[in-house]
Subunit: 328 residues, 2 copies
DNA sequence: AACATGTGTGGAATCGATTACATGTCCTTT
DNA sequence: AAAGGACATGTAATCGATTCCACACATGTT
């Protein structure tokens, strides 16, 4: 491996001069050319570990995901990457596989790797997490969860869920079932459920325990929850099912189809997430587009801004778009 | 930021000893405890830039993707991550956005970041690329393309495509249209097309130019290609369409549905990729599962093995599974 | 008793860059 | 003609770790 010293020796200059070639200081045209020629020939690239050690900047930003292989996550990462790549940053990816201790572990790890900033897609909020973030003392952005004291890019879960519920109501549905997720997830678990419950309450519609189930984001869980809802409802069946994610909604549709329900005639279905799939299902799925990629871009831009100068912690709420399709 | 020197001073030992605590050398129980206590209190974590500079190892492996937000890519990354995370490696992600010069650029970049190895999902093969890989002189794995002189995890594109074509033929189809991609992609572009063409030839079935179109992986291109095929075929319509990716197959189905074709009665459709979606479409899509995640895992394992000891360059061909569903 | 061996610790070089400071030219300006 | 500034280059300290070598001490071996 060639180093700056090798180049310096070959070009008969000090390594300072070589360094200056790469960091635009005063270097005469002659010398610059001579050095560049040697650089080309040897294929020398400066060691970024050394540079990072010296400058305390790595040109890397850390991203912590709950799970890589979901459409939401990959869209967000794609948005982040698009923005940071332009500024010659790379992404160091970590995946918690939904274990929340790992979020904290990875924050520490990324810190010791001298990343210049961190973007976290959190799935929960707890005191240790906040403490770890504060301790890291790095530019930090949270996407999807409102972490106190941390700049956050938020989805409007409450209103999105309200709107979906509302849409179902305007389509004459009065018996609306709900498939949610655990409430340790404040955004997807709590906010979306609140939106659902409050809207029902507002219209004086029945809230029945038998119509409310809790899944785990997976298609299968949507399927199982729907089965339970149908089973437990006896003769008082709901006429619509609102699942808080598209995947669970797809599971619901699957079960309903198997049981011979016609969608939306016998049972309407709606989700959230605007998965690619939602558009091509039969019937196409009513859902909410959260603009994940844009959220990633925005997060990246704010992170870069924070790296240049300290900013006050802010909260940004993304817009969303209700997509009415044939499943309702 | 606390450093090893701070810890050493606070514990009244030399920094050598502190280092030894983390790298299991001789340290007495007493001293070890004293140091660990201070480490806990200060939240000290060793600077990995410094460590990497000194040891020439970074604990990072570089991954070069053509596009992050595709199901294939995210599955592969997920597989890679699962394996390397266990060994405490992280992934440095780069996305070429389908520009092939960037593959080379990123190889250099990853090299200068001292990654311990690189996994590339290539979309093409060219001499410069091979040269860059050789020059990098790092443990290297290619997934999906057979790069000469590079350990490669390959999909069996030729036989997969043959099998799909065969399946269509056993279902009495004699007029089979084809939606491919550009041939600068040897695997998806060439091999799959060869599988299709050779199988038709084997059965003495007609190969008509009007039935062959070239898309660009997108759903929209599948839609457009199908439109062209239908338009250009006049009265001699094919009875089946084989698209080399699920997304293009979905576009095909979309167009056919719009035009009132019944699938598979009027026109059968098949894809490759086993996208999540394929299972939930109506009708469900016949496709080929490439086990992308397993490919990622395998790539990661081979990379780790190469990092421990130099290995001969090998070629591994993944198995695949033809999934016969209702669209055929 | 002399010597080898195992254990525990510190000193100092080293990895490959950046950068503050010093030095030396050569012009321009007053 | 002296001074000041712009330009060009070099010297050496520094970033935070690892690691070779040396040394000290305790214990075991012959």
């Amino acid at each position: 491996m060639t180093t700056i010293n090798d180049i310096a020796k070959m070009a008969n200059v000090s390594r300072t001069t070589v360094s200056r070639v790469f960091n635009n200081g005063y270097v005469s045209e002659d010398v610059r050319k001579r050095i560049m020629k040697i650089v080309e020939e040897t294929g020398y690239t400066p060691s970024l570990s050394a540079k990072s050690l010296r400058t305390k900047k790595s040109g890397v930003i850390g991203v912590i995901l709950p799970k890589i292989s979901t459409e939401t996550a990959s869209r967000v990462v794609s948005g982040i990457n698009e923005v940071v790549a332009k500024e010659n940053f790379q992404i160091l990816l970590t995946d918690t596989e939904l274990q929340k201790e790992k979020e904290i572990e990875y924050i520490r790890l990324l810190k010791s790797r001298h990343v210049d900033g961190i973007i976290l897609l959190a799935t929960n909020i707890n005191a240790d997490l906040i403490k770890a973030i504060t301790a890291a003392d790095l530019p930090f952005i949270s996407i999807g969860q409102d972490l106190p004291g941390v700049t956050s890019i938020l989805y409007d879960d409450y209103h999105a869920a309200s709107d979906v519920t509302n849409l179902l109501i305007t389509h004459q549905h009065t018996k609306i079932a709900f498939i949610g997720v655990g409430e340790e997830d404040p955004s997807v678990g709590r906010q979306r459920k609140m939106g659902y419950l409050d809207t029902l309450a507002k219209f004086n519609l029945p809230i029945k325990e038998e119509w409310i189930e809790e899944g785990d984001f997976s298609i299968e869980s949507g399927y199982e929850c729907t089965k339970k809802i149908i089973k437990n409802s006896g003769t008082d069946l709901p006429s619509a099912i609102f699942a808080v994610t598209d995947r669970m909604a797809i599971g619901a549709m699957e079960y309903l189809r198997e049981q011979g329900f016609s969608i939306p005639k016998d049972m309407a279905v709606a989700g959230i997430g605007a998965s690619t799939m939602s558009k091509y299902l039969t019937p196409s799925l009513t859902t909410v587009d959260y603009f994940n990629k844009e959220a990633g871009e925005k997060a990246a831009r704010h992170l870069l801004a924070q790296m240049i100068q300290k900013k006050d912690k802010e909260k940004f709420t993304q817009t969303y778009r209700l997509i009415k399709r044939d499943s309702v």
